[in-house]
Amino acid sequence: MTKQLLKGNIAFAEAALRYGLEAYFGYPITPQSEALEHLSGRMIEEGRVFLQAESEVAAINMVYGAACAGVRTMTSTSGPGYSLMAEGLSYIVGSEVPVVVVNMMRGGPGLGNIQPSQADYFFMTKSAGHGDFHPIVLAPASVQEIIDMMGLAFTLAETYRTLVIVAGDGCIGQMMESAELPPMAATRQSRPEWAITGARGRDRNIITSLYLGPENLERLNHRLQAKLARIQANEIRYQEMQVDDADLLLVAYGTAGRICTSVLREARKQGLRVGLLRPQTLWPFPEERLAELSQQVRSMLVVEMSAGQMLEDVQRVVQGRVPIRFHGRMGGIIPMVDEILDDVTSLVQTAAA
């Protein structure tokens, strides 16, 4: 395959299809509607299932149904739609069926706006619905990375029979850049043995999240927690740049993380020893690596397009070992390299003093 100029929303939609997506259900919402539009044509062309639902509530429950039937299925949305899906997300995790959801975050709260934001971090990583659970949350920083993460998302969802959220932001969805799509993969020929497909020649399958006896429900929860522990042990992903000699560590993900690579380059030009840790999994969070780095740097700067949500995870892990400063923009404003660089400079000077 060759590189081509691709818009993020179309790139992840086409990538999902090429990774064997069998059924897409969705509801239009800016800034990710191009994904639904793209799949409305492509899925039918490929003989797969596409349906525009009457709401995000219906869309996620259609996805839930298709997942119970054992097919590779997903939806995509943005903040307000993601809120409506929270009910279904909880049932999906409680029923242990594999589902992928793309949330192209936009400015909130409320209707907010349609500009890029990272304000759904808490909602996705900490409290994606009622009950005790975390989804796996992947955070791409480029069009190429969201393409690659679609394949990873399906693999993780099916390996662990759980919910995987690809946490983009309006910037990832709307920008065009050069990227390479995966080759077309065939859809799976068989359904998993747990799927509901009609009890032909086998005992019937029942998929439910209802456990009336508290002992049974606690047993389910222990199983889910054990699964989360396996995910934490095996699936943490992050990218780091120039951390070995760093005095100051930038911690940022997604679009903010990408901006921080420019900040890092500028800072290095000025002779400032700056490194970057960019989590690619927001849950599980790269706790161990961050804790290690907190032993060797002198300060940290967390950059987010929010009021400081991942910041709380950084503070929890670092436990006061080094000073942590936060640079955040809200309301759909993308922070500029210069304004972050000002913080970097003053933080390095303070640490040196």
């Binding site: 059924a23 429950n61 839930y64 298709a66 509901i196 497909t197 020649g201 209802l210």
Partner: protein, 268 residues
């Protein structure tokens, strides 16, 4: 599937032919339903229809939230348990990826006529190849007898303690009449499980609704008027009488829509 050992087979001499046994598609489990509740009757009708159509191994049920939340314990087919009101959306997802299977939802009035109104109307309007059995007993059973969207005017419930005042609480909703307006519905009927004749008609209607799906005609829904002796504070027999006297006037037993194709299917 486990071998069926019916009570009849166990205790009645072999010279007698059993004429009333458990359908294959019904598990031999005592239900959790209250005395006098008709859920058990309607479950049996669904099971008999599945047996008669020979589709037990090709059928997928979608259970609601409400008293029938445990329907999968009794109907011996592949089953999923949906979120409250979302059964038609979940069933849509299942059917679209299993077009050769028979998918049905079994929903109560709170599930279908309140929280799931959008899902049922749009599933019907899209003409999803689904069958819906809709139990209307004019009250929320599982949560303890609160007002349902179908609660009759003046009816006392735990959330309308002085009787439903429609000016305050809104009016009872007639879902079958609404669903019959949708382009995608091919069969919409209201029957009752309040007496033998009604139960027989209900079974024919459920069978027709399954056949409409099997023949790829469109969405089909059978509403079944039912009782809730526990939350109506009536003995089982009185509840049946009360329902016949009061519910039928507002919820007429009628076939609201039946396309010619569905009519041509018959129910045999």
């Amino acid at each position: 599937m486990a071998e069926k050992t019916t009570v009849a087979a166990a205790t009645i001499p072999e010279i007698y032919e059993p004429v009333y046994t458990y359908p294959d598609s019904l598990t031999e489990v005592s239900t959790h339903y209250c005395p006098g509740c008709v859920h058990g009757i309607v479950h049996r009708l669904v099971a008999e229809v599945i047996d008669e159509l020979g589709i037990r191994e090709d059928t997928i049920g979608v259970a609601p939230v409400g008293c029938a939340v445990l329907a999968y314990n009794y109907l011996d087919v592949d089953f999923v348990e949906a979120a409250h009101g979302r059964a038609p959306a979940m069933a849509t997802g299942i059917k679209r990826v299993n077009p050769d299977k028979v998918v049905f939802t079994y929903q109560g009035d709170g599930d279908l006529a309140a929280i799931g109104t959008a899902e049922i109307i749009h599933a019907a309007n899209r003409g999803e190849l689904l069958t819906t059995v809709f139990i209307n007993n004019a009250i929320y059973g599982m949560t303890g007898g609160q007002m349902a969207p179908t609660t009759l005017s003046g009816m006392v419930t735990t959330s309308t303690p002085t009787g439903r005042d429609c000016l305050l609480a809104g009016y009872p909703v007639r879902m079958s009449e609404i669903l019959a307006q949708t382009a995608g519905a091919v069969y919409v009927a209201r029957e009752s499980a309040l007496d033998i004749a009604g139960i027989r008609r209900t079974k024919q209607a459920i069978k027709r609704a399954f056949l409409a799906q099997i023949h790829g005609l469109g969405f089909a829904c059978v509403e079944v008027l039912a009782t809730c002796p526990t939350n109506w504070n009536l003995e089982p027999w009185s509840a049946l009488e009360w329902a016949k006297e009061n519910m039928g006037a507002f919820f007429p037993l009628q076939t609201f829509k039946m396309t010619d194709e569905v009519k041509a299917l018959g129910t045999r």
